[in-house]
Symmetry: C2
Subunit: 343 residues, 2 copies
DNA sequence: CTGAAAGCGCTAACAT
DNA sequence: ATGTTAGCGCTTTCAG
C-alpha cells in the first residue's frame, strides 16, 4: 500500500517548497509562471489531488453544504417537489464547485441523530433546511448554533432567518380570480395541511381572491395531506356540495381529485373546473392536462445555495427574504384557454 | 467570536487528558466508568461535538459515502427510479451513522469536475455509482484509483466490480409468459434504450419469454428513452401493427403508452393488454392501474451501502454481484386478476 | 486505565 | 516570489 502523495512530495519533485505547491493548487497569483508550470506538470503526471479533510481542517471550510429534508420519507419522492428542489440545490452547489450532503429523515430515530450530525463542526459549511411543517425543531435548534443556514419556504416567524420562498399566497389568489373570471360560482378548495406554512398561505390566498371576486367557498372545503389519495378522498366528499370549480393546493392531490371526479361520472373541466398548485407534474401525465400555478422550485434551490454562500462568507448579514413569483399556467383542467384573469 | 471547544478543553474541565476524552467519545471500553461519567457530563453541558474534518484527517476515514448519478439531470426526477434509489441509499447511510454526499451531473462541464471531485482523497470513503448508460466513463476511471466503489445496475463487463442489480431479464421474461398465458397472440415491445444494460436485459428477457411461449414480436418493436413522451410516441407507431398486448420497459413510458392507446380510441386492457416494468408509480396514478414487474429499488440502495461498507473496511475483497429478484404485480392494465403465469 | 507525544496534510502568517 | 513555521483538532501508538 503506497502512501498517498502530499504537498511535500510534489514540492520535492518540483524542486519547490510545500507552500508554493499549495499556492499553485489554490491559484494564488503570486507564483512565477514558470514555477507554476513546473509544479503543474508534476501534479499532472502524479495525479496528485489535495486531501479534502486536511484542507478543511486547516482552512476551516469544507466546501460542502447540507440539504436537510424532513418529511414522511417513504413518500418523499411521490411528490415531484423534493426531487426538483434537490436538483436546484445540486445545480447551485455544482456551479460553486461545492459538494452537496443530503440529509433525509423521517422517523424520530433518524431525526435526532441527523440533527446532531448536521451541526457537527467541520462537516458542512452551512445548511439549507426545508420548512415543511410548522414548528420545525431543526430550525429552532439551528438558531442556537453558529451554523449558517437558510430555510426554503416561509419559516414560522420571519424574524432572524434567511429564507427563500415562493409567492404561495399570490399564486393561489390568481387561481381564485381565474376561476371566478371563468364564470364559476360554486368554488371549492382542497387545501394542503394547515400545519404547513405553504398550506396556510395557499388557503388564505385562495380565499382572498375569492372574496375579491365576491365569491366564497362556504362549506366546500377539504384538506389533504399532499398525497394523491388524500386529494381523491377530499374531492369525493366535496362532490356532495356540487361545486363547479375547485382549487387543489398541489399537483399531486389534484391528480387524485381528477380521479375522484371521473369516478363520479363527472367531467373535468366541463362539470368542474380545476386549478392546482405546483406546476411540477408533466402536463401529459393527466387527462385533462392540469392548469396550475407554477412555482420555480429549481430556481428556489439554486438561489438558496447562493444565499447560503453569502451568509457563510459574511456578505449577507442581515436576514433576507427572497420570494419568487408564481405564475398560473392555463392548460385544460380549468376549461379555458384564456390567460389568467387580470389582477 | 468565541473559539470552538476541542478535546483539550473538555479534558481540562473534566480533569483528564485529551486522549481519555477521545476514548469516551469513541466508546472505547478501556475507560473507568466513573471517569467516563464525568467526561460525558462535561460533554453534555458544553454541547461539545468533535470536529469532523480533524477526525477524518487523523483517522483517514470520513464517514461519508458518495452517490453519483449521471443522467439527463433536468428530467432525472420525472422518473421515480432515482428518487427511490436516493431514498434507499439515504436509509443505508443513516442506519450506519454515515452521511450521504450526492453528486448529480448532466452536462459535460459538470461531469469532469464531479469525476475529479469524487476521487478527491479525504472527501468520501467510497462511492456508489449508477450504471445508467453503457460505457460509463466514471466507472472506468474509478477502476484505476483506489477509491472503493460499488455500481448499482449491471456494469458492462462483470469483471472486477462489486455491484447490486435486479433481475431485469427474469422479470421481463415473466411479463412475456403472463401475457402469453392470457391468450394474447400479437405481443409488442416498447424497449428501453439499448445503450443501457437494464434496457438490453429487459428486452432480451421479454423476447426469451415470448419464444418459450411460442410467440414473437415480429415488427412490433419500439424503443423509448425512458420518458413518458417517448412511450406515447412509440405506442402510437406500434398501433398500426394492431398488437393485442404490449410490454413497456418502464412505468414512466407505460403512462405515455396508455395515453396513446386512449387517444387512439382503444381500451386498455380490453384491446391491448399492458405490462410495464418498475412498479414505482403509485397504482392510482393511472387508469387502469398498471400491472408491472416490480423491482425493489429502495432495497437495492440500502444493500449497495452495506456492500460498499464491506469493501471499504476490507471485509469484502472479491468482486461480488448481488441480484435482487423482481416480481410481477398483477393489477388492471394486463386485463387479468390471475397471478403471474407459472414459470 | 490513563497520559504524553507524534503526526494526519494542509493553510496562513510571517520572513526573506 | 518563495520558504519557514506554527498550528487546525483529532487519533493512535507507546509508556507507564
Amino acid at each position: 500500500m503506497k502512501r498517498r502523495l502530499n504537498l511535500e512530495d510534489i514540492g520535492r519533485r518540483a524542486g519547490v517548497s510545500r507552500s508554493t505547491v499549495s499556492r499553485v493548487v489554490n491559484a494564488d497569483p503570486h507564483v512565477r509562471p514558470e514555477t507554476k508550470k513546473r509544479v503543474e506538470a508534476v501534479i499532472a503526471e502524479t495525479g496528485y489531488r489535495p486531501h479534502a479533510a486536511a484542507r478543511s481542517l486547516a482552512s476551516n471550510s469544507t466546501g460542502v453544504i447540507g440539504l436537510v429534508i424532513s418529511s414522511a420519507v417513504e413518500t418523499l419522492f411521490d411528490d415531484p417537489y423534493f426531487g426538483r428542489l434537490i436538483l436546484g440545490v445540486s445545480g447551485g452547489t455544482n456551479e460553486g464547485g461545492m459538494t452537496l450532503a443530503l440529509f433525509l429523515f423521517g422517523d424520530q430515530a433518524d431525526a435526532s441523530s441527523i440533527i446532531s450530525r448536521v451541526v457537527t463542526p467541520g462537516l458542512v459549511d452551512g445548511v439549507i433546511v426545508t420548512a415543511t411543517t410548522r414548528g420545525n425543531p431543526l430550525i429552532d435548534h439551528l438558531q442556537g448554533t453558529d451554523m449558517p443556514f437558510v430555510v426554503v419556504g416561509r419559516p414560522d416567524s420571519a424574524r432572524s432567518t434567511f429564507c427563500v420562498d415562493v409567492d404561495n399566497r399570490g399564486g393561489a389568489r390568481a387561481a381564485a380570480l381565474h376561476l371566478a373570471a371563468l364564470g364559476r360560482r360554486r368554488p371549492a378548495l382542497i387545501a394542503a395541511p394547515s400545519n404547513t406554512n405553504a398550506g396556510v398561505d395557499r388557503r388564505n390566498g385562495f380565499l382572498e381572491g375569492l372574496a375579491e371576486a365576491g365569491l366564497s367557498v362556504e362549506d366546500r372545503v377539504g384538506e389533504g395531506d399532499w398525497s394523491q389519495g388524500s386529494g381523491r378522498e377530499a374531492m369525493a366528499l366535496l362532490l356532495a356540495e356540487r361545486p363547479d370549480a375547485v382549487f387543489v393546493a398541489s399537483d399531486r392531490m389534484a391528480v387524485g381529485a381528477l380521479r375522484a371526479i371521473r369516478e363520479a361520472g363527472l367531467d373535468c373541466p366541463r362539470d368542474i373546473s380545476l386549478v392546482s398548485f405546483d406546476g411540477l407534474v408533466p402536463p401529459d401525465l393527466t387527462m385533462p392536462r392540469l392548469s396550475s400555478v407554477v412555482q420555480p422550485v429549481t430556481e428556489v434551490g439554486k438561489r438558496a445555495v447562493r444565499l447560503l454562500r453569502s451568509v457563510i462568507d459574511g456578505t449577507s448579514t442581515t436576514p433576507e427574504h427572497v420570494v419568487f413569483p408564481t405564475e398560473l399556467a392555463v392548460r385544460e383542467s380549468c376549461g379555458s384557454t384564456l390567460g389568467p384573469a387580470a389582477t
